[in-house]
């Protein structure tokens, strides 16, 4: 219900904004009555921007109707009866009748009257040639309050009978006085120490904290507490969490498979320590945008820290399945939206598909920033199609990273060499493994199915018995080959050798294959054999076979080697000389072999072969004939001559078998070791960004990446000067962006952050819409105070802790939260802060407070979640990652998941990690209450709290007092205390009568009392 009240007030304020944003009622008349009409009924045919100007008339600009069409000016301001447009819409007989029948016919009577009235009033048309940026004119944008430079505001001088303790109080009191409001008295000391402790640390004060404050009667007592709390590490946990709401933090990536991100926590911990060390806020922002670049310019000690800070960009909801640009426009949409909302309080993200409708942000602004992000290398967290993380920036300096990369590469190469050696030995012991295994594994394929792994097949291909080659000089006669049907040119089969073959100096690479086209083949196209590295990454050899001839690529041309007969099996044998980049070989049938020599390989071939492909891209036109393939081989040893067979493979002997078994074991071991080494980073990495390839982006029409319009330079928002990258820039532009945000728009940055801090202290910002300072947002309730605070913040060197001190030491912060009807009637929402707004504990504070009171809280920093080992990751949208890890650490360290939210955090309205959250909207639901009543967690805490109470000295009366003080900060009233004592008595009695847990009835009764106190309003709310 609170939410509804808030939204109601939003609507009211918004209406005011609309009016003040366009003060001219004439312009409003145009906007309400004329513009929509022109757009819907006229501009389809009369529009200069689309170039459709029937009769030479454009109605989408003022200049358009002033100039008019072929018959002269369309409108004479003030004189409807002389305006051609009016004649036309009246359907007067001697002129054009507009809009014509086929375009929907005559306007309604009301519409015609509206146009006439508009012209009579002078045809005010705000669509002048005045420059616009997005949804504002340049003039409006310049004058919009949030974009104006901060100026020193005078602090109200009135003394208010000595009430104010500082400047804030003077600003606040002045507004109260104007409205006849008087502030509540100060809160009592117990209330105050609980309020400020929960506010600054997210934990309740201990009995000792309370006692120390109560006994300190100096005037500095409260300031001392504030300093102590700000110096406590728990401060950063609390306020870092506030920032994480804005930064949309989660521990998983958020595409359908929701991959875990092991390094996300580094960013979280960075945020916590940034708050604890009171890092200047502008610096805090700069590092989050360009920490990796700053790191290279700064000292080595700061390197890891700064790179980690760029997690701010990477940590959003991801959309990609693999580390390719396919879905990046969505990742960038999230990043741009988050930068806009969290730092500048602007919905820049709205300009993705069209210029912003209300604020001065154009698509060119959006894609100017987009280019900067596109020039950045993003960490890829892992996804359905690529199940491993990639491109995480290292936390060591580049030289060290290169050394460690090199070291890792050498280790992997050493594993590869060992594995190759073992395989070679195995092959030498088992003849069946020669030439990569019989037919490269064809013989183990299922019949009547497309070739399966390790083969890749696309198109109508099938392993069949009929496709067995008759040649047996290299492989023993098998039972099957592959038949490739008539498919598309790109259909085919592919085999990737697990060992790259690189010809040794003086050595050769040998390739063989048997093939035929079917006898009935009439197709004129040709199929191709490809050999090289990767899928056409580095091409070595191409042969092309049609039903009538066989050719090889010799330099640039196809060289026909010989004629072929459909239906006949041929064998091909090629030897490649990588020294001379030439090849030679034979093709034919036994007794009819054609030699070829000295054919040239492409000069660009890099000397490596690891891939064989047969596809339909050969030298003839038309479909490829159905063809069969068999007996593929690729080795560094020469093959036997055609006709020299049949080869009979010796089965390995007993000794060899034993050796093979031990090789298999060693192979398994080495492969496993290699996998582990390969998966492990050579050095620690962060989930952040690094520099990519600099490029400008092109505008995407309607936000669709396929619909590209003109390129826009990388630059900052036009309203802040629209700085471009300097000519000399060779980076992504993020370093410049960091400077632009913290210098060109520093006043807005300060306003937005100061307002957030205010909101987190008081429950409501001076600007109610803390992530929207644009024309759709609320106006500040205390504009002068906001300006004063923002300027003071900058002058303090962007010190967040100073800002806290200024705010919490104000009298305004220290008022009682109680309400009185007279004031409530004037200002029910407490906008004027005549009392402190009582708050419900948020999700983290509930859990942390319970753990703190029960004594089970683990205050250590948590670094890693027990995620499954990366080598096992195979998450897909069908089998997404999901886990919930128990922990007694502070709740900031709970594993936050994007797609299936943590049950506790979701239940108690913690921030939704899928977008930048300006303000949590607490609710009170029965499912929450069921958790408070019956969850194992709450019962564990109450049991532990009871044990703690029972372990303390003193009697039951004292125990009840302690329990009250620890949970609510208060000493119980006599009535409360007596009731609690009676409760313990009655509860124990009731257990005894029922013979439940005999001898433990006291433990259970105290646990029950603990539970009551831990779920009472005195515990769950803050006065």
């Amino acid at each position: 219900m609170i939410r509804q009240w808030i939204s109601l007030s939003v609507c009211v304020v918004l209406q005011c904004v609309c009016v003040s944003a366009s003060p001219q009622s004439d312009a409003e008349y145009f906007e309400n009555h004329i513009r929509p009409l022109l757009v819907e009924r006229c501009q389809g045919c009369h529009c200069s921007s689309t170039g459709k100007t029937s009769g030479g008339l454009a109605l989408d600009t003022r200049a358009g109707w002033e100039k008019g069409g072929d018959s002269g000016p369309a409108i004479v301001p003030g004189k409807p009866q002389e305006s051609l447009l009016v004649k036309a819409i009246h359907y007067e007989e001697d002129g054009p009748q507009m809009p014509p029948q086929e375009k929907g016919g005559k306007l309604s009577k009301e519409q015609i009257e509206a146009v006439v009235e508009w012209i009579r009033q002078g045809a005010i048309d705000p669509r002048s040639m005045e420059k616009t940026i997005g949804g504002m004119t340049a003039n409006q944008a310049e004058r919009w309050w949030a974009f104006l430079p901060l100026v020193k505001t005078a602090v109200p001088e009135a003394d208010f009978a000595g009430w104010p303790r500082g400047e804030i109080d003077r600003f606040i009191r002045l507004e109260q006085e104007k409205r006849g409001l008087s502030p509540m008295p100060d809160a009592d000391k117990r209330t105050l120490v609980r309020r400020v402790t929960l506010d600054l640390t997210g934990l309740p004060p201990t009995q000792e904290d309370i006692a120390a404050y109560l006994s300190d009667e100096s005037s500095e007592a409260f300031a001392k507490i504030v300093d102590r709390l700000l110096a406590s590490p728990e401060y950063g946990v609390r306020w870092g969490r506030h920032w994480l709401d804005v930064a949309r933090y989660a521990d998983t990536a958020g595409d359908g498979a929701d991959y875990p991100v092991r390094e996300a926590g580094l960013y979280r911990n960075w945020v916590v320590s940034a708050f604890n060390s009171d890092q200047p806020f502008d610096d805090f922002v700069r590092e989050q945008i360009a920490g990796d670049i700053l790191a290279e310019q700064g000292s080595i000690e700061d390197y890891a820290r700064r790179v980690t800070a760029t997690g701010f960009l990477a940590i959003g909801k991801r959309y990609g399945y693999s580390p390719t640009p396919a879905y990046q426009h969505l990742d960038f949409a999230d990043a741009i939206d988050s930068i806009g909302r969290s730092l500048l309080g602007l919905s820049i993200g709205c300009a993705r598909c069209h210029d912003h409708k209300y604020d001065p942000i154009s698509m060119a602004d959006y894609y100017g920033l987009y280019g900067i992000l596109q020039s950045t290398q993003w960490s890829f967290p892992g996804g359905e199609e690529h199940k491993r993380p990639a491109h995480f920036p290292g936390l060591v300096i580049p030289a060290e990273a290169a050394r460690l990369d090199q070291q890792k590469a050498e280790q992997l190469a050493s594993f590869d060499a060992d594995i190759a050696k073992l395989k070679q030995e195995k092959a030498s012991l088992d003849g069946r493994l020669c030439a990569g295994g019989i037919d490269l594994g064809f013989e183990s394929q299922s019949l009547e199915a497309p070739p399966a792994a390790p083969w890749l097949s696309q198109g109508p291909n099938k392993v069949i018995a009929d496709a067995q080659s008759p040649f047996s000089h290299i492989h023993p006669t098998g039972m099957r080959g592959v038949r490739m049907g008539v498919g598309k040119p790109n259909d085919g089969v592919r085999y990737v050798f697990d060992q790259k073959i690189r010809a040794q100096p003086g050595g050769h690479i040998h390739f063989t294959i048997d093939f035929r086209t079917l006898a009935e083949a009439t197709e004129t196209g040709a199929f191709r054999f490809y050999l090289g590295r990767g899928v056409i990454e580095s091409l070595a050899l191409e042969c092309s076979i049609s039903s009538r001839e066989c050719a090889v690529r010799d330099g640039a041309a196809w060289k026909v080697l010989r004629k072929l007969e459909p239906g006949t099996w041929y064998t091909l044998r090629v030897s490649i000389d990588s020294d001379t980049k030439t090849f030679s070989g034979v093709v034919g049938v036994t007794g009819d072999l054609t030699d070829f020599r000295g054919c040239t390989l492409p000069p660009a071939w890099d000397g490596v072969i690891d891939t064989f492909i047969c596809d339909g891209i050969g030298h003839g036109d038309g479909s490829t004939p159905i063809h069969d393939l068999d007996n593929v081989g690729l080795t560094q040893e020469p093959f036997a001559e055609p006709g020299s067979g049949p080869i009979v493979l010796p089965l390995p002997g007993v000794d060899a078998k034993q050796r093979i078994a031990s090789i298999d074991g060693a192979l398994w071991e080495k492969t496993k070791q290699r996998e582990v080494r390969s998966a492990a980073s050579a050095y620690r990495v962060a989930y952040g960004v690094s520099e990519g390839k600099p490029m400008n982006a092109r505008i995407q029409k309607r936000g669709e990446p396929e619909q590209l319009a003109e390129e826009v330079p990388r630059r900052y928002l036009e309203i802040f000067g629209g700085d471009r990258l300097p000519e000399t820039s060779y980076g992504s532009g993020r370093l410049e962006l960091a400077d632009w945000i913290t210098r060109r728009s520093q006043h807005l940055l300060a306003r937005v952050f100061v307002n957030r801090v205010w909101q987190w202290h008081f429950g409501r910002g001076l600007v109610g819409t803390s992530s929207d300072f644009g024309s759709r947002g609320e106006m500040p309730t205390h504009p002068e105070l906001l300006e004063w605070l923002a300027l003071k913040f900058i002058e303090s060197g962007w010190s967040v802790k100073s800002l806290h001190r200024t705010i919490v030491l104000s009298r305004t912060y220290q008022l009682s939260s109680n309400s009185v009807a007279e004031m409530d009637a004037i200002d029910p929402e407490n906008i004027q802060l005549w009392r402190y707004t009582r708050r419900q504990l948020d999700a983290e504070s509930i859990r942390d407070s319970m753990l703190s009171v029960s004594g089970l809280l683990n205050r250590e920093v948590l670094c890693e979640h027990p995620f499954p080992d990366v080598t096992t990751w195979g998450f897909t949208i069908h089998q997404p990652f999901f886990a919930e890890y128990e922990s007694n650490h502070r709740s900031i360290y709970l594993m936050v998941q994007r797609n299936r939210r943590h049950p506790f955090l979701a239940l108690f309205d913690a921030a939704d990690p899928n977008q930048s959250i300006a303000q949590r909207l607490p609710t009170t639901t029965p499912t929450q209450t069921l958790y408070l009543m019956n969850s194992p967690f709450v019962h564990q805490q109450s049991d532990a709290f009871a044990a703690r109470l029972l372990g303390m000295s003193g009697g039951d009366q004292e125990r009840v007092t302690r329990a009250f003080e620890m949970t609510t900060g208060k000493i119980p009233a006599d009535a409360d205390r007596d009731e609690c004592l009676q409760f313990v008595e009655k509860y124990s009695q009731s257990l005894l009568e029922r013979n439940i847990a005999p001898a433990h009835e006291r433990d259970l009764a105290w646990a029950a009392l603990s539970r009551v106190l831990m779920t009472s309003n005195g515990f769950l709310s803050v006065d």
């Binding site: 109680n818 797609n899 899928n914 009170t924 029965p926 408070l932 106190l1013 309003n1017």
Partner: protein, 464 residues
């Protein structure tokens, strides 16, 4: 006829607990801000045809041409080449082979609506169904299509249709959540499918997982309920004094009240999920074994019980994101999946009808998308995703039964008339609940949002 609602939580609580929270303030609250309780039942924009929704969702994409869209030509033209405009997420021109359905079709009921042998029991109630054979949606990806079917947005996190209805109308029974989702496993996109997103959290779907503990924390953890009453009684006293010292505070009072509701839920939710008092005849109707605590029959029967108890929206999801209707490899899978839901769905319709509930309960069945009537391999056993045209149906709650709305072309590839987009389906559902989909808005991040974004048309042709 609807069962009389169980006695109100307040009433019951007074009788059973000695009224720990019966403060003067609570009475004042009801008087002053009762209407502001977001879950209190409130009227829609116009008189509603239906009071409750049962939304049945089949995960993975059910083939339309094998279930509700009978295409004689597809049988006749099996193996023929056609040019398809979309294939595996790509647009273009693709030469593909038509594949005939494996199941034959029959005409059922007075209406003679065609239904395949996969759904013989649903065929038996077809006169209550309005089959939509020209459904279409924007995405042929599982995640996106699931989100679109539930939230209207394939891309961004938005509230679920059940949350919107809860927000629009509140709910009748304060002892149960307004929107409950009964699903053995999460569909694609996980809990986002029933999330409240920017709407107040009381509108989120409460996930019930069939099995031993369908609702978390609903079972009291104390040995006997009297002990819990003692705890709550003390809590009530402490809270009352706490409140008395502070003056009116909605949030504090809301928490006090929530303990009453939660206590009521402890009793009422397990009772609603307990089928032990259902007759054997009813159990048979839903194809349920005695003592069953899971299976789609259990889900359907529980749905009826929840509707009887005034739960505004119930969603039933048959399977999760694995082993579902996504029959790329073998359409034979459809048989197992259809068998699991066919009789339970028919049982639900029959049972609602004979109890007089169907008139005021809207039942909707839909899925992510259809499946291609063609394939690149003329002998392929599976079908791919097909979002250009698929089938859904609606029943009860103001929908005309025994009709087919919308038709596809002769092979079920493209819709030819009566197109219904996901937005249109949502607009129609809201309309039947008495809500104008263009006026049900929520202001968030500076603008008004609605379920149907800027689209959606009420399919008036199918209304009674």
């Amino acid at each position: 006829m609807r069962m009389p609602l169980p006695m109100s939580r307040r009433e019951w609580f007074h009788r059973s607990s000695g009224g720990f929270a019966a403060t003067a303030f609570a009475a004042l609250w009801n008087q002053v801000v009762g209407a502001a309780d977001p879950l209190a039942p409130h009227a829609g924009h116009f008189p509603a045809h239906a009071d409750n929704i049962i939304f049945i969702y089949s995960t993975g994409g059910v083939s339309h041409v094998d279930t509700f869209d009978y295409k004689p030509h597809l049988f006749a033209d099996h193996g023929k080449k056609i040019n398809a405009s979309r294939w595996l997420n790509k647009s273009g021109s693709f030469e593909r082979f038509l594949i005939r359905p494996r199941w034959s079709f029959k005409q059922y009921g007075q209406s003679g609506t065609w239904v395949s042998d996969l759904f013989p029991h649903v065929g038996g109630v077809v006169d209550d169904l309005c089959v939509l054979n020209a459904m279409h949606c924007e995405s042929d990806g599982h995640d996106k299509a699931t989100l679109a079917a539930h939230t209207g947005s394939a891309q961004f996190a938005r509230p679920s249709v059940g949350s919107w209805v809860s927000y629009g109308l509140g709910t009748e029974n304060q002892n149960l959540p307004s929107f409950m989702v009964i699903a053995p496993a999460a569909p694609y996109a996980g809990a986002q499918t029933w999330a409240n997103d920017f709407l107040p959290a009381c509108h989120q779907g409460t996930h019930v997982v069939p099995g031993k503990e369908p609702l978390p924390n609903v079972k009291p953890r104390v040995p006997v309920i009297e002990l819990q009453k003692m705890e709550l009684d003390l809590l009530g006293r402490l809270n009352r004094r706490h409140l008395d010292q502070r003056g009116a505070d909605f949030a504090l009072d809301a928490r006090v009240r929530s303990f009453e509701t939660a206590f009521g839920m402890q009793r009422e939710a397990p009772e609603a999920l307990d089928l032990s008092h259902e007759t054997q005849e009813t159990m048979n109707l839903y194809a349920l074994e005695p003592g069953a605590t899971s299976g789609f029959g259990w889900q359907c029967l529980v749905a009826r019980r929840l509707v009887e108890r005034g739960v505004r929206c119930v969603e039933l999801i048959d399977v999760g994101s694995s082993s579902n209707w996504d029959s790329h490899g073998n359409m034979g899978d459809h048989e197992r999946l259809a068998k699991a839901i066919d009789q339970p769905i028919a049982g639900l319709i029959t049972d609602l009808k004979r109890r007089g509930l169907l008139e005021r309960t809207l039942v909707v069945w839909t899925t992510e998308f259809g499946r291609t009537p063609f394939h690149q391999d003329p002998n392929h056993a599976g079908r791919e995703h097909h979002n250009l045209c698929f089938s859904s149906w609606m029943a009860g709650g103001g929908v005309r039964g025994g009709m087919v709305h919308g038709h596809s072309d002769e092979h079920g590839i493209l819709p030819s008339d009566g197109l219904v987009h996901t937005h249109d389906l949502h607009a129609t559902m809201l309309h039947l609940m008495g809500i104008d989909h263009e006026r049900l808005t929520y202001r968030h991040a500076g603008r008004d949002y609605r379920l149907t974004d800027v689209a959606g048309r009420v399919v008036r042709e199918i209304l009674l």
